[in-house]
C-alpha cells in the first residue's frame, strides 16, 4: 500500500495515460537510464517499469540514444594536444589590467564587503538572496552596476570633451565673430587647385614591416616569433596566417606599443603547421594597410623556401 502510494506521488509521477495510470516524466526515465537519480527514486521507477510496458519501451529508446551519444566519451585524439601552458603564461605576463578592469575589480570587492557586512547584521533577510557579482554571472545587480558605471563614465567623457571642444571653438569664434547673433562658421571649401598632399608613401626606413625574430629558446620550444616595426603606436592590428597544408589557420589581434613595435608568438606543433604566409592588417589606417611576410622557413623543416623575405603591400581595400 505504501509502495502504491509512493508510485502515485505527484512529485514523481505526473504523466497519466488514457487509462488514468500515472507514469514518471520522461526526464526522470532518462535520468534513471543514466543513473542520475537517488536510491529512492531509482527503486520507485524500477518498480514502475517492471509493470509498465510504455515506460519500459521509453527507457529502451533512451538507452539506444545513450549508446549513440556515449560515443562522444570515447572520442580520442590521434595525437595529443600541444601544451598551451607557455603560451598562456606568456600572454598572462604581457597582460596589464586596464583602468576599467581595476575599477570593476574594486567595485566587486566593495560589493562583497558590503554584502558580508549586511549578512552579518541581517542574516535572515540578506543571507538568502543569491545576488552575485562574479565574472561569469549575468544577474541584474551586476548588469545594473556596470551599466550605471558606463553611463557615468560616458557623461564624464562627454562633459570633458564638450568642455575642451567648447574652449577650442570659443577661441576660434572669438577671432571670427567676437559679438553679435549666432552665426555658423563654414570652413573654407577646398579648391580644385592641386595642393601638396601630406607624405603618403613613407621612406623605406619608416615603412611598417614584419619579420621573424625567433630566439634560440623559441626554436627549442617549437615557437615562432613574429616582430613588426614602424607601425603607428596604439594601432590595432590583425595578424593572420595559414600553414602550408592549409589546415592550420589563425587570426589574432595585436596592439602596437609605444616603440612602434609588436611581437607575437605562436606555437608550431609540427612542420606542417609552419605558416606559408603571414599577413598583418592595420585596420586603424583608413582603408586598411596590409603587410605581408612570405617565403617563411623554420628551423629544419623541409621547405623549398629560402630565407625570410619582407614584402610590404599597401592596399587601400585589402581582401584577406
Amino acid at each position: 500500500m505504501a509502495e502504491q502510494k509512493r508510485e502515485e506521488d505527484p512529485e514523481h509521477f505526473k504523466a497519466r495515460d488514457e487509462g488514468g495510470m500515472a507514469h514518471p516524466d520522461d526526464d526522470l526515465l532518462l535520468a534513471y537510464t543514466r543513473g542520475q537519480l537517488n536510491k529512492e527514486r531509482t527503486s520507485s521507477i524500477q518498480r514502475h517499469i517492471e509493470g509498465c510496458g510504455r515506460c519500459f519501451r521509453k527507457c529502451f529508446q533512451y538507452e539506444e540514444a545513450n549508446s549513440k551519444l556515449i560515443v562522444m566519451h570515447h572520442m580520442r585524439l590521434t595525437d595529443r594536444y600541444p601544451s598551451i601552458v607557455d603560451a598562456v603564461m606568456e600572454r598572462a605576463e604581457q597582460w596589464r589590467p586596464s583602468l576599467a578592469h581595476k575599477v570593476s575589480e574594486r567595485i566587486y570587492l566593495l560589493w562583497q564587503h558590503g554584502r558580508r557586512t549586511l549578512v552579518r547584521y541581517f542574516p535572515q533577510k540578506i543571507g538568502k538572496t543569491k545576488w552575485r557579482l562574479s565574472a561569469g554571472s549575468n544577474g541584474l545587480p551586476s548588469t545594473a552596476v556596470f551599466v550605471s558605471l558606463f553611463i557615468v563614465l560616458l557623461v564624464v567623457a562627454a562633459f570633458a570633451f564638450g568642455t575642451a571642444a567648447g574652449l577650442l571653438s570659443l577661441n576660434t569664434s572669438k577671432q571670427a565673430t567676437p559679438q553679435g547673433p549666432l552665426t555658423v562658421t563654414v570652413p573654407p571649401i577646398p579648391t580644385a587647385t592641386p595642393t601638396p598632399t601630406p607624405v603618403l608613401s613613407p621612406t623605406p626606413t619608416t615603412k611598417p614591416y614584419i619579420h621573424l625574430c625567433n630566439t634560440a629558446a623559441d626554436l627549442t620550444q617549437w615557437r615562432m616569433r613574429v616582430c613588426g616595426d614602424n607601425f603607428t603606436p596604439g594601432h590595432k592590428l590583425v595578424l593572420f596566417y595559414q600553414s602550408f597544408d592549409g589546415m592550420h589557420k589563425a587570426k589574432h589581434q595585436i596592439t602596437v606599443d609605444k616603440q612602434k613595435h609588436f611581437e607575437y608568438v605562436f606555437k608550431i606543433s609540427n612542420c606542417r603547421s609552419v605558416p606559408s604566409f603571414i599577413y598583418v592588417l592595420d585596420y586603424s589606417v583608413s582603408g586598411g594597410r596590409l603587410v605581408e611576410l612570405n617565403n617563411i622557413s623554420y628551423d629544419n623543416c623541409p621547405t623549398s623556401m629560402s630565407t625570410p623575405k619582407v614584402a610590404e603591400t599597401p592596399t587601400p581595400h585589402p581582401e584577406p
Binding site: 545513450n66 562522444m72 572520442m75 585524439l77 598562456v88 603564461m89 566587486y108 561569469g136
Partner: protein
C-alpha cells in the same frame, strides 16, 4: 574550514604563477577536449582554451573565495565555445562562410561503425541549439553529473535533468532523420517520433 580549492583560488587571486601553471597543466587536456568536441575544430579549440585560461587569470580577482573553480572555468570555456558557434552560424547564414567537414582528429577507438556513428553524432549535434549541444557534450562527453552541469550553467539539477531530456529528444529526432538519409544500415533507426515534433 578552508578547502584546497579555496587555497588555490586565494593563490590565484594573488597572481601566483606556479599555481596558475599547475592549474593549466591539470585542466588543459579536458578543457581543450571539451572545446574540440563542441566546436569541431582542433586549432580553434586550442585558441579558445588559451583564451579561457587567460580570462581565468584576468577575472579571478572578481570572484569570491567559495568559488567552484572547475565549474567556473568550464563556464568560461562554454561561453567562448557558444560565442564561436553562434558567430559561425551567423556567418554561414549570411553566406560568409561555408559549412566545413568535421575534424578528422577526433577519432573513436573501436570498430569502424563507431567512426560512422561519431560523424553522425557530430552532425546531429551541430544541427541542435549550441547550448543544448554543450549540455549533452558535458554530460555524455566529459561525464559530468547533472549537479556539476548545474554548477557550470548556474541551474538547478532538476532544470538540467529536463534540459538533458529535451536535448536527447531533439538529438533522437535529428539523428533519426540523418540515418535514413545516409542509408546507413549499421545502426538502428529510432522509430518513436519526438513529442515536440522538432
Amino acid at each position: 574550514m578552508v578547502t584546497d580549492v579555496q587555497v588555490v583560488v586565494e593563490r590565484l587571486k594573488a597572481r601566483d604563477a606556479q599555481t596558475f601553471r599547475s592549474l593549466i597543466e591539470r585542466l588543459q587536456e579536458p578543457v581543450t577536449g571539451y572545446l574540440h568536441r563542441l566546436v569541431g575544430d582542433r586549432e580553434v579549440a586550442l585558441d579558445l582554451a588559451q583564451d579561457t585560461f587567460l580570462q581565468v587569470y584576468k577575472e579571478i580577482g572578481k570572484t569570491s573565495s567559495d568559488l567552484a573553480l572547475d565549474a567556473w572555468i568550464y563556464r568560461i570555456a562554454t561561453n567562448y565555445g557558444l560565442r564561436y558557434l553562434n558567430r559561425k552560424r551567423l556567418k554561414q547564414f549570411i553566406g560568409l562562410e561555408e559549412r566545413e567537414a568535421y575534424d578528422e582528429n577526433l577519432m573513436v577507438a573501436g570498430p569502424e561503425d563507431q567512426a560512422e556513428t561519431r560523424l553522425l553524432v557530430q552532425e546531429a549535434l551541430s544541427m541542435m541549439k549550441p547550448k543544448d549541444a554543450a549540455i549533452l557534450q558535458l554530460h555524455y562527453g566529459s561525464g559530468f553529473t547533472y549537479e556539476e552541469i548545474g554548477q557550470v550553467f548556474q541551474m538547478s539539477s532538476e532544470a538540467v535533468r529536463k534540459r538533458v531530456a529535451r536535448g536527447v529528444e531533439k538529438f533522437r529526432a535529428v539523428y533519426g532523420k540523418k540515418v535514413p538519409a545516409r542509408k546507413h544500415v549499421g545502426t538502428p533507426v529510432n522509430s518513436v517520433q519526438p513529442r515536440d515534433g522538432t
